[in-house]
């Protein structure tokens, strides 16, 4: 594009997250607590997460509702402040708000794409102004003519017409709005894009368009993605590495192919089993049990133990620590104690 890419040190990961924690206080108001004798209630939305992302790759966080993946995304991008732990971007610590304020240029290199295409664009602003906002705020360009030209380029890059800049968001479909969101994210010339379920609200055929577009852009602009999703098939398609979260903890992460071929953690295996089988190879399914417990009252020890077929006494008491394995890590006592049964590999279509 217009600017030369920064020289990057590929030996150091681009983003490193260490022991990241975020706690939400959802207690009832003081008066209610006094009258009803209730204690404080807190939700450990993110409870000690560790991972790193290399430049140019796509790292996905996958999990069901309440697992904390969206919170991790927001912590990284600065919408929440961590309760503990560190976020390190290219060697610079940007966890707390004060740290982040010291490095506004780093903030400018990160951008986010949101899930809801209808709520992520200001309904009262014209599309052109929405896309131009990062340009104007960061003073990357000056003069209306320059800005207009650049907005046109960005819109064309995401598959829309430069003339669309004059329209309002409600004149576009969901998929087109996501494209506008992507154009806005790209306006600031970021290197790191956090994508929070960008295609979950879209139809299948539109999703395909957006995923293809994102892959193209990644190749052309050298972007790094943190991709959040609950859809394992999508994650399989886009990611280089995948991390599985459950109730605020990262239970397993690995290279995509490794994770899907040889999942280790019982929850990962359960998730893979639960996906409806489009290929209908008629594979036998292990029975799935129970539901995700409320994050207000997670089970002690390993939070997955009530649903785990391999749970033993230790699992009920002790939180498993992450054990490095080939290409990733897994936090499971059964793995550590070598109690894991072999996994039937899926037959290719």
């Amino acid at each position: 594009m217009s600017k030369p890419t920064r020289t990057r040190d590929f030996s150091v990961p681009m983003l490193t997250v260490t022991n990241l924690k975020r706690v939400f206080d959802v207690s009832a108001p003081l008066l209610n607590r006094l009258l009803e004798g209730k204690g404080r209630s807190i939700v450990r939305a993110v409870d000690g997460v560790n991972f790193s992302i290399k430049a140019g790759e796509t790292f996905s966080l996958v999990g069901e509702s309440g697992c904390g993946k969206s919170t991790v995304a927001r912590l990284i991008v600065g919408l929440y402040e961590p309760s503990d732990g560190s976020i390190n971007f290219e060697g610079v610590e940007i966890g707390s708000a004060t740290d982040r304020a010291k490095h506004p240029d780093i903030q400018g290199r990160m951008q986010m794409i949101f899930q809801d295409p209808y709520a992520s664009l200001n309904p009262r602003w014209r599309v052109g102004d929405i896309v131009a906002e990062p340009l104007r705020f960061r003073k990357l360009l000056s003069g209306n003519a320059e800005i207009e030209k650049r907005v046109g380029e960005l819109l064309a890059q995401v598959g829309l017409s430069p003339l669309d800049a004059r329209k309002y968001p409600h004149e576009f479909s969901g998929g087109q709005r996501q494209r506008i969101s992507i154009a806005r994210a790209l306006a600031g010339e970021p290197e790191f894009l956090v994508c929070d379920e960008p295609t979950s609200a879209l139809d299948v055929s539109v999703q395909a368009q957006i995923l293809n577009l994102m892959k193209d852009l990644q190749r052309r602009l050298g972007l790094t993605y943190l991709f959040i999703s609950h859809n394992l098939a999508v994650v399989y398609h886009v990611s280089d590495k995948v991390g599985v979260m459950y109730l605020g903890r990262l239970v397993e992460w690995a290279d995509t192919q490794t994770l899907f071929d040889r999942p280790l953690h019982p929850y990962t295996r359960m998730l893979l089993d639960a996906i409806p089988d489009l290929d209908m190879t008629g594979r036998a399914r292990t029975p799935v049990a129970g539901e995700v417990p409320s994050p207000l009252n997670p089970p002690p020890g390993c939070s997955f133990h009530p649903r785990c077929p391999l749970a033993n006494e230790r699992c009920k008491r002790e939180v498993p620590k992450a054990i490095p394995v080939e290409g990733g890590a897994v936090a499971c006592h059964a793995v550590e104690e070598n109690r894991l049964p072999p996994w039937k590999t899926q037959a290719a279509a």
């Binding site: 069901e64 368009q209 899907f260 359960m270 996906i275 409806p276 399914r285």
Partner: protein
């Protein structure tokens, strides 16, 4: 047709008169469901699949109305019944499961009361018998400690449990057909699997037919016997599930299958159908898919194709008309 037809929809047309003209949400849709079979109706948003389901249950909101066509349940017409007649059919002959379990249950009434009310409305029994039946239904759908949970309120159940209660409610009066509109979309993946299994099992046991409306092809693959693919208010293709998924004939179905990411093999690019589904007030002439179709030719732009035999399925596509029916 070997099994008797339970539900027959012929040339159904659902319209919405607005001040800018009449919008046709369902355009000349014909389908059949045999007793005990599961028909999936799949399509993207705006395709008209929910509208078809709603029309069959008779819950179309005015100004939407059935403009023409017939809906027959066991041979008897139900699309033109007066309100109180349709009420008897709804619940007793046709049950319904909607997407959001939060709003499908009345938050102010205990779950047991809602079940008993439904049972007593349609089946002649005493209150005590109805209550016993309600407990048994809750057990069947897998609610633990059913005899106690029957006195709980909907908000005291989790999302997956609530959907199970909704299924129990739908089955309470032993209907012959259940219309399920996106029953698993609002649920987590692992719960989805449980609910799908449950639905399959119960419907097989009770001999209930299911019309499963969803946008999720994976759910259809697991659950349905036959599937209808809808596009812009019309049926693009209909046939046995393995046929439509593995050997689609309509270019839209082919595009749709290619667009779904699967975990069997990694592709660089997903199949992309350029453009998007036309809005209801801008449906193209001829075949509704023609502006986006990679195999379009002149006839497609002028003449609208009806469903034609294609292998073991039917597809509304002129390409199919060229070839004589062969496998």
């Amino acid at each position: 047709m070997t099994s008797p037809k339970l539900l027959e929809v012929k040339n159904l047309r659902v319209e919405f008169p607005t001040r800018r003209g009449t919008l046709v949400a369902v355009d000349d849709v014909s389908l059949e469901i045999a007793a005990g079979e599961v028909l999936g109706v799949v399509g993207e948003s705006g395709a008209g699949k929910s509208m078809t389901g709603t029309a069959i249950i008779g819950l179309l909101e005015p100004p939407g109305r059935i403009a023409s066509g017939e809906i027959r349940l066991e041979g008897r017409r139900i699309d033109n019944l007066p309100y109180h007649e349709m009420r008897k059919i709804r619940g007793r002959q046709i049950g319904a499961i909607f997407q959001d379990p939060l709003t499908s249950l009345n938050p102010l009434y205990k779950v047991g009361d809602q079940l008993v009310e439904t049972i007593l409305t349609h089946l002649p029994m005493t209150h005590a018998q109805a209550r016993d039946r309600a407990v048994k239904l809750l057990e069947d759908v897998g609610i633990p400690s059913a005899a106690e949970r029957i006195n709980s309120y909907p908000h005291q159940f989790s999302g997956g449990m609530r959907q199970r209660v909704v299924i129990a409610l739908a089955l309470a009066a032993e209907p012959k057909l259940i219309v399920a509109d996106e029953p698993t979309t609002a649920l987590d993946v692992s719960i989805q699997a449980q609910i799908i299994q449950l639905l399959k099992k119960l419907c097989r046991e009770h001999g209930t037919a299911v019309m499963l409306v969803t946008h999720d092809m994976g759910v259809i693959a697991e659950t349905a016997d036959r599937v209808a693919v809808m596009y812009a208010g019309r049926i693009a293709e209909i046939g046995p599930v393995q046929e439509v998924i593995k050997r689609p004939h309509h270019p839209y179905t082919m595009g749709l299958m290619g667009a779904i990411p699967t975990m069997g093999h990694k592709t660089e690019r997903l199949t992309q159908i350029d453009g998007s589904m036309p809005r209801l007030n801008a449906i193209p002439r001829g075949c509704a898919f023609n502006p986006r179709c990679p195999k379009v030719f002149d006839r497609c732009r002028v003449e609208r194709p009806d469903l034609m035999p294609a292998g073991q399925s039917h597809a509304s596509c002129w390409l199919v008309a060229k070839e004589p029916a062969h496998v």
